[in-house]
Amino acid sequence: MSNREINVENLMKQYPGGVTAVNDVSFRVNSGEIFGFLGPNGAGKSTTIKILTTLALPSSGIATVGGYDVVHEADLVRRIAGVALQDIGLDPLMKPMELLSIQAQLFGASRQQAKARAQELVELVRLTEAVDRRVGTYSGGMRRRLDLAMALVHKPAILFLDEPTTGLDPASRRDVWEEVRRLNKELGMTIFLTTQYLEEADELADRIAIIDKGKIAKKGSPAQLKAGVGKESINLAFDTRDMAEKACDQLSDMAERIQTDRDMVRLYMSQAAQTIPAVVNRLQAANLNPISLTLTQPTLDDVFLQVTGQRLTTEEDREKVKVG
């Protein structure tokens, strides 16, 4: 079995002008693992994935993919890694079988092997019915699926997926999730996944790293990270930010940890459900009436908020990501 690990040690990337996009980042992705890499825009995710996929050079530090150095053995990295970047790169005038076949031949397949592989892949990503159409006529979801197929042409040991479901409708997103799980389980493929949907990371990833301001802020399994935030939380929404801040002052002694985010107050505690009456009484006594009160289990969004001080997704995004 080949080495399917990714190792990153003290990775730094500085751009001219002194901007540090990646600042002393270290992590390891084990063989056969799905690793979620999360972070807000501009946190260093894209730069890291560009370095790992040989599109950019680090300023210092070491990164190996499948045992190959991304700086000095870039050609070997490209041969064992499949990459589906956020910006889909497909020639709109070509047809899927043609693109897949060219891709397979570039990776050393004979013409017959390439044709057979292309056929397998269009079936895998369910594009058989659209096989005679030019890629330019495809919907966003179809293009995304074809892009994934292109990344799989050479049966890579390690797959990099950069926001693979961004812009997809819920059904297409579910298809991609199923495919990612299948590739991981059946073929033992190591998958490095960046996503802006925390539910996606929660659903797919064995382990997660959150990068913020160029540094790894948190690492662990989704369960570990969520457990670190607290067991439950009471979420209160107010009309104004000012009311939220006053409520925060009033309730500060009732929670293990309390957090405000604009007009929201979140109280983290072990026995949240039993504490609700006391919280309501305290608020009424202070003449603070919340417009909503909800009880939730911690999510990765909470982890993200705790780590970065901001939410990764909006409420609208969270609604969109719900599939099934």
């Binding site: 079995m1 080949s2 080495n3 690990e5 063989s31 996929t53 040989t54 599109l55 950019a56 050079l57 499948g66 045992g67 190959y68 870039a74 050609d75 070997l76 490209r78 041969r79 064992i80 990459v83 970047l85 910006d87 889909i88 790169g89 497909l90 020639d91 709109p92 005038l93 070509m94 043609e98 060219i102 891709q103 031949q105 570039l106 990776f107 050393g108 030019r134 292109m150 050479h154």
Partner: protein, 277 residues
């Protein structure tokens, strides 16, 4: 447990050497794809071809009768004299085909996708250029076909016509080096389109409508340094007088010099675009 992990870490299966197409196959695949996309947008091929044929017909109709009065041209066919200018114009238009293909790949992101495969930089450059050269040869042949219908008689027969097509391809490929480097440098269709026109003045800074000997002053100096002059001279002699090895080698030499300089520029632009930073 720890021991197991370290064993896994040290075992690396190196990709096999045949996990990558050889260079000729890479170039063929890149060329074939470029040709496929060119033929899927045939409408882009018609305007330059139509303009070349239009100028051929107009020049012959308006100036054809004057051939008898132009010194050094008397007794020769004006069609054989003016056809090379039309073919050179078509070569210049054809030079834009490779660049348009390249810039389309850059804009669609397919160029970056290819960089994630083991494709060599040479194949990335030569694929569209070879495809453009083939199209350019077809266009030059069509223009010659029209001239034959108009009564052209080649003094050197089919061989001479093939030489004219060959020179057109050589010249156009040299210009393609420049337009492709503009595509790689700018990554913009509009900038590439603009760069394709930069050589058009060269078709006038030469012995466009009268033999070189009749030019004078700065225009003659410009024509002497213009590679197109030597291509026109060789094509005209081949069509009107017969084989002239000196003129032919001068034309080939001018094309190779131009092509060498333009390809050096294209290779530099490719390196800049594909350089990891």
């Amino acid at each position: 447990m720890t021991t197991q992990v370290s064993v896994q870490n040290t075992f690396v299966m190196r990709p096999k050497t045949h996990d990558k197409a050889n260079l000729p196959l890479q170039i063929w695949l890149a060329t074939w794809r470029s040709l496929t996309t060119i033929f899927r947008t045939p409408v882009a091929l018609f305007p330059p071809l139509a303009i070349s044929i239009f100028f051929l017909v107009i020049y012959e109709s308006t100036l054809g009768g004057a051939a008898a009065f132009i010194p050094n041209l008397s007794g020769n066919s004006y069609l054989g004299f003016i056809l090379p200018l039309s073919i050179v114009s078509s070569s210049l238009s054809g030079a834009g085909i490779a660049a348009q293909n390249m810039v389309r790949d850059i804009e669609s992101g397919y160029f970056d996708k290819l960089l994630l495969t083991p494709i060599s930089r040479a194949a990335l450059l030569l694929g569209p250029i070879f495809a453009g050269a083939l199209i350019l040869g077809i266009q030059a042949s069509i223009v010659i076909g029209v001239a034959l219908l108009m009564g052209l008689e080649s003094a050197t027969g089919i061989g001479g016509l093939l030489l004219v097509v060959g020179l057109a391809i050589l010249l156009g490929t040299g210009f393609a080096g420049f337009t492709v480097s503009a595509a790689l440098g700018s990554g913009s269709a509009a900038a590439t389109q603009g760069a394709s026109f930069i050589f058009f003045p060269l078709t006038f800074l030469t012995a466009s409508f009268v033999p070189l000997e009749l030019l004078d002053g700065w225009l003659k100096t410009a024509a002497t340094f213009n590679p197109i002059t030597y291509v026109l001279e060789a094509m005209r002699a081949t069509l009107n007088s017969g084989w002239d090895s000196t003129l032919i080698w001068q034309a080939v030499g001018a094309c190779l010099l131009l092509g060498g300089a333009m390809f050096a520029l294209a290779i530099y632009s490719l390196r800049v675009r594909t350089r990891r930073s």
